[in-house]
C-alpha cells in the first residue's frame, strides 16, 4: 500500500459549511472558495500544517522605515535596510516616556545590543517575522489535538498546548503557549518570558528586542497571537502586545503569512550559535603567535 495518508488528505480537504472568519479588510477569497480550499483537521478546525514565512520588513522595523545604509560599512548595499510600510496598527508603538528614550539608545547601539546579532532566541512574536521560514505541525490523533511550531532560526521552536490552559512551570525565551480555536482562528496566548540575562561579565545584558531597530519589551510581555486562514496558501497573522512595564496600552501588529510553495520545500539548518563564536569569543581564542 503506498502512502495511505495521501488518501486521508483528500478526506481532510472536505468542505465545511460554516464561513471562515477573516480579519476586517482581508478578503483574499470569497466565502465559498475559502470553504473548499482550506485543509481541515478531523475535528473540523483548519489544518495549519505547512511551511510559512512572512514577506515584509517587520524584522528591520515594526513601525516601517525608508531605505537606509548598512550599519557596517563593508556590507554596502548588502547590509542596507530595505524600506517598508510597517506592520503596527496606527503606525506607532505606544512607549512609556523612558522606554521611548531607551528605544532610541537601542537603535544607536544596535551593533552591540541586538540579540539577533548574537543568535539569541527571538521570542514571540519576533520569531514569526524573522526572514526565515517556519513549519507548523498540526494533527488530531487519539482524541488529542497537537500543535508544534519549528522555526528555521537557531533552535527556536514551540509546543503549543491545545488542551486545558496550563501555567508556565518556568520562564523561557520563547514563552509559554496555550492555544485554542475561535471559529477558524487559532488563538495562542503567550506569556512567561525570561528576564534579561548577562552573557559576558563585561557585556551588557541580553534583552528582548522586537526588531533590528531596537524596539523592545520586558519580561512582563503578554502576547495574544491570531492565525486565520485566508485560503490554502495564506494566513492572516495578528499579535496583540501587552507589557505594562514598557507600553502605555496594548497594541497590535498584523501581516499575511505565505506558504512556501517550492517543490520539496523543507527547513534547513540555520544553527547560528556557530556563526557568532568569533564575534562573542574571538578575543579569547589563542593567538597563533602567542
Amino acid at each position: 500500500m503506498e502512502n495511505p495518508w495521501k488518501f486521508a488528505l483528500i478526506v481532510l480537504f472536505a468542505v465545511r459549511t460554516t464561513a471562515a472568519q477573516t480579519p476586517a479588510g482581508q478578503t483574499a477569497l470569497g466565502p465559498n472558495q475559502l470553504q473548499t480550499q482550506i485543509r481541515r483537521l478531523p475535528n473540523g478546525k483548519p489544518d495549519l500544517s505547512g511551511i510559512w514565512q512572512a514577506l515584509n520588513t517587520a524584522n528591520w522595523d515594526l513601525e516601517g522605515q525608508g531605505g537606509g545604509p548598512s550599519p557596517v560599512l563593508e556590507l554596502g548595499a548588502i547590509g542596507a535596510t530595505p524600506p517598508g510600510l510597517g506592520v503596527v496598527e496606527g503606525g506607532k508603538i505606544p512607549y512609556q516616556e523612558w522606554a521611548a528614550k531607551k528605544k532610541q539608545e537601542n537603535y544607536k547601539n544596535r551593533l552591540k545590543l541586538d540579540p539577533e546579532l548574537k543568535c539569541h532566541l527571538p521570542g514571540v512574536p519576533r520569531a514569526t517575522y524573522l526572514p526565515y521560514p517556519f513549519q507548523i505541525f498540526s494533527s488530531v490523533s487519539q482524541g488529542k489535538e497537537r500543535l508544534a511550531i519549528v522555526y528555521q532560526y537557531s533552535y527556536a521552536r514551540r509546543e503549543i498546548n491545545m488542551g486545558k490552559p496550563t501555567e508556565a512551570p518556568i520562564d523561557s525565551w520563547m514563552g509559554w503557549s496555550n492555544g485554542k480555536w475561535e471559529g477558524d482562528t487559532l488563538v495562542i496566548d503567550v506569556s512567561a518570558f525570561t528576564t534579561p540575562i548577562l552573557l559576558s561579565p563585561e557585556g551588557p545584558p541580553s534583552e528582548h528586542w522586537l526588531d533590528r531597530a531596537g524596539n523592545f519589551h520586558s519580561d512582563a510581555l503578554h502576547v495574544i497571537e491570531r492565525f486565520t486562514p485566508l485560503g490554502p496558501n495564506h494566513l492572516a497573522y495578528e499579535a496583540l502586545i501587552e507589557d505594562t512595564k514598557v507600553f502605555t496600552r496594548p497594541w497590535k501588529i498584523s501581516m499575511p503569512l505565505y506558504r512556501r510553495l517550492e517543490k520539496n520545500m523543507q527547513l534547513l539548518e540555520f544553527k547560528c550559535p556557530e556563526y557568532t563564536e568569533e564575534l562573542l569569543l574571538g578575543p579569547y581564542r589563542k593567538q597563533p603567535n602567542k
Partner: protein
Amino acid sequence: MKMSHRFFISTGTLTILIAFLSAAFVPVTGQAQTSGAATWTPPKATYSPPRTPWGDPDLQGVWDYQSRIPMQRPAQFKDKPTLTEAELAALAKTPPNQDSCGVGTRKDVACTPEQLADIGAYNEFWNNRNFLADNRTSLIVDPPDGRFPPMMPEAQKRQAEIQKTIGTFDRQRYDSWEDFPTVTRCITEHTPNGPQGYNSGTLITQSPGWIVMFRERLDTRIIPLDKRPHIDDHIRQWNGDSRGWFEGNTLVVETTNFTDKQIIGGGAGSTIPTGIPFGNIRLIERWVPVSAKRMNYYATITDAKTWTKPWTFMLPWERDNTYQLFEYACHEANIGILNSLRGERLLEQKAAEAAAKGALSSDQTSDGLIGATEAAIRSKLGEPKAVDYNGSRWTYETADGVFVLYLFFAEGKVKIATPNDLPLNAVKRR
C-alpha cells in the same frame, strides 16, 4: 559467511551443523536473524500502535532513552552479552557511573584525589536516572561481539591526526571553541543520539507526510515521509538530511549529507568516537514498536571510509507521559566556554609574565608541591583557605583573586595540584 547462508537454506541437517559453526556470529539479543548470515537483519515490530487519522502508526508523545549500558562491551564481559538477574541486582546497587565524585560532590563522600581533581563532568547529583530494564552488556548489537568493527588503516591515520589538532576532554586543551564538543558550543548533539545523563526526553509530533522530533537539548529533527530525494550533495548539515517511511509499524529513517565539521565525540549523547568526520556517514534508523510503552531504536552506521563494515546499536525508548520538556536555551547563557577560554588565556599570560622574569624552577610553582607533607605545605603557603573532603582537598587562592589552587592529598602527601604551573609567589598568604 555467505557460504554458510547458502547451506542454511538447503537442508535441516546442515542447518544444525552450520548453526554450531556460526554460533560466534549470532547476534546476542536474539531479535535478529537465525540464518547465520553475516549481515545484521533488523527485527520486526511486535506491537501495532494505534493509527493517526491518515493511517500512519501514531508515535506521538514524549519518549525517553536513559541507559547505563556502554556503547561497547567492556572486556570483562567479553563472552557475556547479557547479565543474569543476580548480576543485574548487584549492578543496581552500585552508583550508575564512576563520577559520583566530581563537581559538586558532597563533602562527606570519600573520593580519590584523581576523582576530586577531575572537573570534566557533573557528578551523579545532577543526573536524571530513569533507566529502562535492559540486561545487555553493550548497546552495540552488531558486530555480535558488541564492539565497533575494525577501522580502515587510512581512517586510523586520519583519526590520530585529528586528535592531534583538537582539544578533547582527555587533553584538556582549549585554544578555541573548536576544541569543545558541539553540544558544549550549543550547536548540536550527535545524530544518532546516545544515552546522556539528563535531558534525553524527546517529543514526537506527526502531521500528514511529516514526523518531527524535539530532542530536549538543541536539536529538532524534521523528517519528510514522502520519499522525496535528498538535498543536493554539497549541502551539509550537522544533523544531516533525513528521509523517512513506515515499513509496517516500524519507522525507518535514512540520513545522509552530514557535515565533516562534526568530528568530536565524548560529549553527552555522543555515539561516534572522536576523530571521525561525519561527512561520509549513511545512517539508517529504525524505531521498532515492541509494546504500547516501548520502541527499540536501532541505528546502523555505514561509512566505508572509516569502518570495515556497518555497525548497529540499539537503545530502548520508553514512553513517558509525565516528562515535561523545557526550553534548552543553551547558547543564550553559554558562559562555560567563555570562561574556559578566558581562564586558559589568563594562565598563558601569567606563564608569559613569569617567563619574562626568568624561568621558574619547578619548586617555585605548584608542580613542586607534589609529594609534600601537610606540614611542609603549611610552612610554604600558610593556612589554606578551606579544607574539604575529610582533609583530602586544600584550597588556596592567588592574591589577585583570579585563580584557585587545589591540592589533593593522599596518605598525607600532595598527589595532585590544580593548576600545576601556578607560581607559588602568587598565592595569597593567610
